[in-house]
Structure formats: C-alpha cells, structure tokens
C-alpha cells in the first residue's frame, strides 16, 4: 500500500499520504480457525524479517470495556451493536492500523468491517446503510476469506470452545437452542460472506483442511502480494 484508498470519504480532516506498510485481512465466520492462522503467519512474517502488527474486532482500548459490559446485558439491540462495533473499528483504524502502516508494518487484521456488516445485515440492517457507515475504511491490500461449511464449523467448536451466545445468534433467536440457532445463524453469515467475496474481491480459501495445509496456501498468497510492494528485510 502506498497511496491509501478508502471505500468512502475516509477521514477528511486527516492528511494521510505515504503508507509503506501492508494491510492483510483474514476473514471468515466464527470458529473457522482464523486466530490459529494469524499466530502462524505472524511468526512466519517475523522470521522473514518483517515488522508485524496484529489487530482484531473489539480490541480498541476505547470501546472494549464498554462493549464487553454491554454484551453481558440484554438491551443491546441490532443497530446499537452495529454502531458500537463501528466505533471500535474506527478507533483501531485511526489509532493503530494507520499509524502502523505509516511506520511500514505488515498489519494482520483478524476480521475487518466485512464481518460486522454480515452480522448487521443478518440482524435486519439495511445492507447499503451498513456499507456506508464504513465509508471511512481503508481498502486492504489483501483479503483472505477462510471458508468452511456449517458442519465443519460445528466439529471445530465441539473440539474447541463450545457454543457461544452471540456466535449462535441467540440475540435474534434463530432457534430455541444454541446448536440449532448456531447452524441457522452461521449459514446466514456464510451467505453474506459469499456475496461480499465477489463484491470486495476476497480470495477464498478452503478452511476445512488441516491448519498447516491452509497456512501454506496463505503464505504463498501473502508472499506474492508482499513481493509487489515490500522488499524483503533479510
């Protein structure tokens, strides 16, 4: 990334010119194995001599305490959830991601606003409204979409952390129990992601395979993309 490209008006009050870093996004639904891949990629890139910065949804120091608290209650309605996450995203973009890109870091983002749009639309938000909210967002250099079907996601969760209220879409009660609700909800999300894959130019990766195999593919894609922009350090 050299000249920043925004999806909409960006940050009109801010002069952002040269950004030698790269913004790489890993997208995909809950439980698809993104964080495992991010960890592996971080180590690999650092071994290659690149400075790496990690970010992900809900990690803004401004909104994290309030958002965590809000998610424990029951008054977090769909649009409120949507704009609270947008606040988190804006804060991280301006205060973490852009400064890191200016400093020449490779920023690995565990999800981007595509995930929040998918969730908002599944909850009934107007798709165009949701996209315009994120008009301040930077266009990433690379969006890698890890795709797995619902049965694969379920298997991963049984082996891992189990079913979560929000990941199962229980706030909109897709069914009367976590498992069924999870299946319906995640299926709706996957449809949104598939739509966005074409719209935003995601590169789709089959995430139903072993982690090492997926990582090799990701490395290849990232390597190719970096090659165009950044010289190798070692």
């Amino acid at each position: 990334m050299t000249e920043p490209i925004f999806y909409g008006s960006g940050f009109p009050y801010r002069q952002i010119k040269h950004m030698p870093g790269m913004l790489i996004v890993l997208e995909g639904t809950d439980g698809v194995g993104r964080s495992t891949q991010i960890d592996m990629l971080s180590h690999w890139l650092e071994d290659e001599g690149y400075a790496v910065s990690n970010t992900g949804l809900k990690r803004s120091p401004l909104t994290q305490p309030g958002l965590d608290e809000a998610k424990l209650g029951h008054t977090l309605s769909p649009l409120t959830l949507s704009l609270f996450y947008a606040t988190d995203f804006a804060d991280r973009l301006e205060n973490q991601i852009i400064p890191a890109l200016k400093a020449g870091f490779i920023v690995l983002s565990d999800r981007y606003f595509y995930s929040t749009i998918a969730r908002d639309v599944v909850r009934g938000a107007d798709p165009e409204w949701a996209r315009k909210v994120y008009g301040f967002s930077l266009k990433p250099d690379l969006v890698l979409y890890m795709k797995a079907d619902v049965p694969a996601l379920v298997t991963r969760l049984v082996n891992g952390r189990g079913f979560d209220y929000w990941e199962s879409g229980m706030d909109i009660r897709c069914a009367d129990n976590l498992y069924d609700s999870f299946c319906v909800y995640q299926d709706l999300l996957i449809r949104q992601f598939d739509q966005m894959a074409a719209e935003y130019g995601f590169i789709t990766i089959d995430a139903t395979r072993p982690a090492e195999e997926i990582n090799k593919d990701l490395q290849k894609l990232i390597h190719k993309s970096i090659g165009k922009h950044m010289p190798k350090a070692v």
Binding site: T75, A86, T87
Partner: protein, 243 residues
C-alpha cells in the same frame, strides 16, 4: 436522509449551541404538555446508560477522534432510539428530544467529518414533526455558560481540533463553526427559529404556539394514569362555580 414519520406519535426537537437556552425551554414545554393531560416522553442527547462508561473513558483520556466521537454518539442515540424513542412513537406519545441527529450534523461536520457520511449514520431515524432552533449570539451563550458553571469542558470547547490553546478562545471558534452548520440546516430541514436572546417567558410563548400548531387536530395516546383525576376536579370546579 431521515424517514417520514408515519407512526402514531409526534416528535418535537430542540436544537442550538450550548447556552442557547433550549433545555430550559423544553423543560417548561414538557411540564406544560403534561399538565394538559398529554402523554409525554422526554429524551436527552448522550444519556444512554449503555455507552456512558465509554464516553467517560474517551473524554477523560482524550481518546476521541472526530470519527470515533461521532460514532459513539450515534451509538448512544441508536440505543435510545431502539429501546425508547421509537417504541414511544409507536405508542402514540409526544416525544420531546433535547438535541437530535441535527446536533451530530452540526458538531461532527464542524469537526471535519463528511456531511453525507454522518447523514447516513442517522438515516434510520424519523424526521421530527417540529424542530425548534434556538438562535443566540455567541457572546450571550458564553456568558450563560460561564455564569452557570465554572468550567467549559475539553470537547465542548473543541480543544481536540487544536484551534487554540486557550479554552475560551477555542470554545468560541468551535461554536462559530457549529452555528454555521446549524444556519445551513435552517432551510434544509425547515427549522422553526426561536430568538434565544429574548426573555424565557417570551420564548416559551413562541414555543407553545409552534407546538400547538403541530398538535392541532391530532389525538395521540392520552395519559390515563395522570389525567384521571383532572376531569373530576374540573367538574367540581364547575359545580362550585355554578353555586
């Protein structure tokens, strides 16, 4: 843009810079309407308990950028919208709002965000039946604020924009920008302009006249809880009067 109001309720909004006197006026209006037996719900800008701790943190630590500040205030608004304002409109109540989306249009744009972007943020909300804009000279507003409390706050003064190191100077410069935005909206949203420099009584007279006009021929949900006693009193008064 804002959606046309096709709910049973009526939405009445006051807007203006800090110290324009709008809060005094809407308070008097609320009491007056309630005494008339109307069912009234009042909502204030930036008052949702859900984002309170985040707002406090952001202000204390001076963490806000124009965009994150704008988004957090929109979060506050939408929380009140989904849980309070919109349901009250469906009930058929009169919803009185001390500041509304126009505050964001004015302040956030004064801070430098894109006008179209911030208009889209609030496009789920309804267009009020009446927006009263309290126009007041900056000097009067400053005088009122300084006499009412000791200090002007950091973000209120627009200190985040780096306009001036002096708080009062920054406040004046920032509010001037906010006023410019409001003035642009007067024709755009058909604001009813109230002269905020005149006496409280005179303003309230104008406010009531404007509200009466909006409520003409409209029958919302009556306030059965607070009103039941009134007809009895009136009947009694008539009886006593007749004697």
């Amino acid at each position: 843009m804002l959606k046309p109001n096709n709910s049973k309720g009526k939405l009445i909004v006051v807007e203006g810079i800090d110290g324009s006197g709008k809060s005094t006026q809407i308070d008097l209006l609320t009491k007056w309407l309630r005494s008339q037996g109307k069912l009234v719900y009042f909502s204030e800008w930036n008052s949702s308990p859900l984002v309170k701790s985040t707002t406090k943190l952001g202000k204390q630590e001076k963490m806000f950028t124009p965009t994150s500040f704008s988004l957090l205030q929109a979060t506050d608004f939408v929380h009140r919208w989904e849980n309070l304002i919109f349901p009250m409109m469906k009930v058929g109540a009169i919803v009185l709002a001390d500041r509304y989306a126009f505050t964001a249009y004015a302040r956030d744009v004064a801070r430098g965000v894109d006008p179209e972007w911030v208009r889209n943020l609030y496009s789920f909300a309804l267009m009020p039946d009446l927006v009263m804009y309290f126009r007041v000279p900056l000097d009067i507003a400053v005088e009122r604020i300084l006499s009412a409390r000791a200090k002007i706050k950091y973000y209120e003064a627009g200190m985040d924009l780096g306009l001036s190191k002096d708080k009062l100077t920054s406040f004046r410069m920032f509010q001037k920008k906010v006023i410019q935005q409001y003035e642009k909206m007067v024709p755009e949203f058909n604001f009813a302009v109230i002269d905020g420099a005149t006496s409280v009584e005179k303003q309230q007279k104008e406010v009531r006249a404007a509200v009466k006009k909006v409520l003409e021929g409209w029958n919302g949900q009556p306030d059965t809880v607070n009103v039941t006693k009134k007809p009895i009193r009136r009947t009694l008064a008539k009886v006593v009067g007749a004697k």
